[in-house]
């Protein structure tokens, strides 16, 4: 059976490089066509409610900015074992998106994610702003290719659109307000 895949872009769009996840999702939607078993989700900066989006998935691909671990702009990937090895901490807040805690909670809830992969880019600029900084911006095409490769490994068709759709990047320029 074809696995059900969630590609989740994590991060805050208003803080430059931290917005990598949402930026990547918008680009993937504009440039590629994925099979029905794949859902792309700009999930922002969730707390434990991340778990609510994992029900019924077999494969989780996370895109997120990293605070350290390499040179700015470096792409790093982590698998399920590596991600779960990080300890869940105690927390005071609903807004601490402790990824490990999300994964452990999902497991406690009986959500069986066969494969989890995090594709991260080491960030550099985290000031207020909706544009990615130069390092992460340059890394973005490489991130998209990696994501497509991960999806294809599961025998799911991914096609690059002959002509990219206009990306739904409402934060780039003022959009006409619909009603």
């Amino acid at each position: 059976m074809t696995p059900r895949v969630l590609i989740a872009g994590v991060g805050n769009l208003l803080l430059q490089d931290d917005g990598l996840g949402p930026h990547a999702i918008a680009r993937l939607q504009a440039e590629y066509e994925f099979g029905d078993e794949v859902e792309l989700l700009d999930i922002g900066t969730p707390g434990l409610d991340f778990v609510d989006y994992l029900v019924g998935r077999d494969v989780l691909i996370i895109i997120d900015a990293l605070s350290s671990g390499g040179e700015p702009g470096e792409i790093l990937t982590f698998d399920k074992t590596q991600l779960k090895a990080f300890f869940p901490g105690m927390r005071l807040s609903a807004h601490q998106p402790c990824l490990q805690e999300t994964l452990h909670t999902a497991e406690t809830a009986g959500i069986d994610l066969k494969e989890i992969v995090l594709v991260g880019v080491v960030g550099h600029s985290f000031e207020v702003g909706t544009e990615l900084g130069p390092y992460v911006s340059r890394a973005l095409p490489g991130v998209l290719e990696l994501i497509v490769e991960f999806v294809k490994r599961h025998n799911i068709a991914v096609t690059k659109r002959a002509q990219a759709l206009p990306a739904s990047e409402w934060w780039q320029a003022e959009v006409a307000v619909k009603a």
């Binding site: 208003l14 900066t45 990080f86 005071l92 807040s93 452990h104 985290f126």
Partner: protein, 567 residues
């Protein structure tokens, strides 16, 4: 794949990090400081933009409360324009807010704070049959069978046997302040597992009406973008409406029979915690769930109580109430911003002036909001006290049910005044959830009735005047009174300030040295073991803070004796 071990906690989350410093003297807290260690200043991104787009940005302020910031933003612009919105739009927004709140309260109680009170490690010693019988004696919930409880216990035993504690790897297990018998712990854990299923149903309602979650897509200044057409498959039709009702009907009994019961059981079995953590006892709530186009009548009351005296309660009749617009100021004396004199939000400035943590000087990025100069506690406790004091029938009904449930377990008479405490905040949140769950059905009926009368309007187009207009949008969010303050000049945003619930509650001291609610509530909290300040976490968690925290404990000389990094 790379094998380097690095910290992958994502960086710079928007609400910043909460740090709590407490001094412990003779086994209890003698001084406390609440400090936010990250600058937000996020409002500045809105200056010069089109006010009709602001809500798209404000719902990115924070990842958990996305919806509430979108709603307060469109309301603020509509208030500035004195723009009524069609009743259908009010009811659709209300259903989103109701279901968002139900989701948020369930998540807070079970996922984020129950384990402060429930010692998971005692669960293998529980008797599932007795535990299930106890649960059945407290409510009619269908998920209280001994089989269900047995399976929850097996789950914990499995984790322990594998040595893979997963999410339970940290926690103050065996702490002397953990007092529940194993059977009660098993009951709470069983419901914790079930909560995951019901919170998701509430979220699905938000997703159906909002187009997607997180980050709803259906709002507009002037109404909503949900097309209503009972004859169209693509629009809001009866199928869609009944799907909403079906989901709500599943969530409502979980809130009323399980969540409220568990919160009351905790209160009954931790009676001391109805005496700790009162703190600032001025309370404020804003009215919500508007019932008409002008938003001049509401299903949830707002008002103010001073000095914990319920007889002093004064109502707000609407968000446009003159007093609220005049009374709110923000003080920067102890916050890392230029200036100190209190400013009204419309004139508010956000110019950073960082100094380091100075106990007697500036020590936080949170401004100190004040109401006529007074610190105020906001949140479910304020909502319940204001509603009760003003004779709001649903609040009174569910508060009395909760107090009776506490009596049934403990044999102790607890009054509404006892809710002014750490545990009281948990009980109040559960009461509020029960009140809202009843209104879920009512507002669904309002919407269906209005549509069946042939009204399909959802939007009134905004018109921006030349010159300057000011507006305030309020929403009584799960964490308390939220207000967005906008100034629009020639159709562009010239000022934007969000005064959020956690700003009220995590407020620092002000010009007069009056502490904020977190700071005041920690005083005289017992601390059994300064290296494991579980009691501090209990009180801070009871407010449902929206910041990540580092909690430090100091001895009276100011030397850190324990530093607990709280992730």
């Amino acid at each position: 794949m790379a094998t380097t071990k690095i910290n992958i906690d994502p960086v710079t989350r928007i609400e910043g990090h909460l740090r709590v410093d407490v001094e412990v003297d003779g086994g209890s807290v003698s001084k406390a400081w609440a400090s936010c260690t990250m600058w937000r200043g996020i409002e500045n991104i809105l200056l010069g933009r089109d006010p009709r787009e602001a809500w798209l940005f404000t719902q990115r302020f924070c990842g958990v409360c996305t919806t509430v910031h979108a709603m307060a933003s469109v309301r603020a612009v509509e208030d500035a324009l004195r723009l009524p919105i069609p009743p259908n739009a009010q009811f659709i927004r209300n259903l989103i807010l109701i279901n968002h709140a139900l989701h948020d309260h369930i998540v807070h109680f079970y996922q984020l704070s129950a384990l402060d009170w429930v010692d998971i490690m005692t669960i293998p010693r529980a008797d599932p049959v007795k535990s299930s019988a106890l649960a059945q004696s407290l409510s009619n919930w269908t998920g209280n069978s001994s089989k269900e409880f047995q399976s929850a216990q097996d789950k914990i035993k499995g984790f322990l046997a594998s040595g893979q504690l997963g999410m339970f790897a940290t926690g103050y297990w065996g702490h002397p302040a953990m007092k529940l018998p194993p059977d009660v712990n098993l009951m709470a854990f069983t419901h914790y597992l079930q909560a995951l299923e019901y919170q998701r149903k509430a979220l699905q309602v938000v997703g159906i009406l909002g187009g997607k979650t997180p980050h709803i897509q259906n709002l507009a200044v002037g109404g909503v973008q949900n097309a209503i057409n009972l004859d169209s498959m693509a629009a809001m039709n009866m199928d869609r409406l009944y799907m909403l009702k079906f989901l709500q009907d599943a969530v409502i009994p979980f809130v009323q029979d399980v969540y409220l019961t568990d919160a009351c059981a905790l209160a009954a079995l931790y009676p001391d915690w109805l005496t700790y953590g009162k703190g600032v006892n001025n309370y404020m709530a804003v009215p919500d769930l508007p019932l008409n186009a002008q938003a001049s009548a509401f299903d949830l009351p707002g008002g103010v109580i001073m000095d914990g005296n319920l007889a002093s309660a004064k109502p707000y009749y609407s968000a446009a109430d003159g007093e609220f617009r005049q009374a709110v100021t923000e003080d920067m004396t102890h916050a890392w911003y230029k200036g100190s004199a209190p400013q009204r939000p419309w004139q508010g400035e956000t110019i950073p002036d960082y100094t380091d943590f100075q106990e007697n000087g500036k020590y936080t990025w949170v401004k100190a909001p004040r109401y006529n100069g007074h610190p105020m506690q906001v949140g479910p406790l304020a909502q319940i006290l204001v509603g009760y004091a003003l004779g709001h029938p649903l609040t009174k009904k569910w508060t009395d049910i909760a107090l009776a449930k506490i009596f049934a377990v403990s044999g102790r008479h607890v009054t509404v005044n006892d809710l002014q405490s750490t545990m009281g905040r948990h009980v109040a949140r559960a009461i509020r959830a029960a009140v809202i769950s009843e209104l879920a059905t009512k507002h669904w009926e309002y919407l269906v009735t209005n549509i069946s009368h042939g009204d399909t309007a959802v939007y009134n187009p905004p018109k921006f005047p030349d010159g300057e207009v000011e507006g305030v949008g309020t929403h009584e969010a799960p964490r308390g009174a939220l207000s967005h303050w906008v100034v629009v000049r020639n159709g562009r945003l010239s000022n934007y300030q969000a005064v959020v619930p956690t700003t009220w509650n995590a407020s620092p001291r002000d010009q007069q040295g009056q502490p904020g609610p977190y700071e005041a509530s920690l005083l005289r909290n017992p601390i059994a073991d300064p290296e494991k300040p579980l009691e501090v976490l209990r009180t801070v968690h009871s407010f449902d803070p929206c910041m990540a925290c580092a909690c430090h404990t100091h001895d009276p000389e100011g030397k850190p004796i324990a530093q607990v990094k709280v992730l």
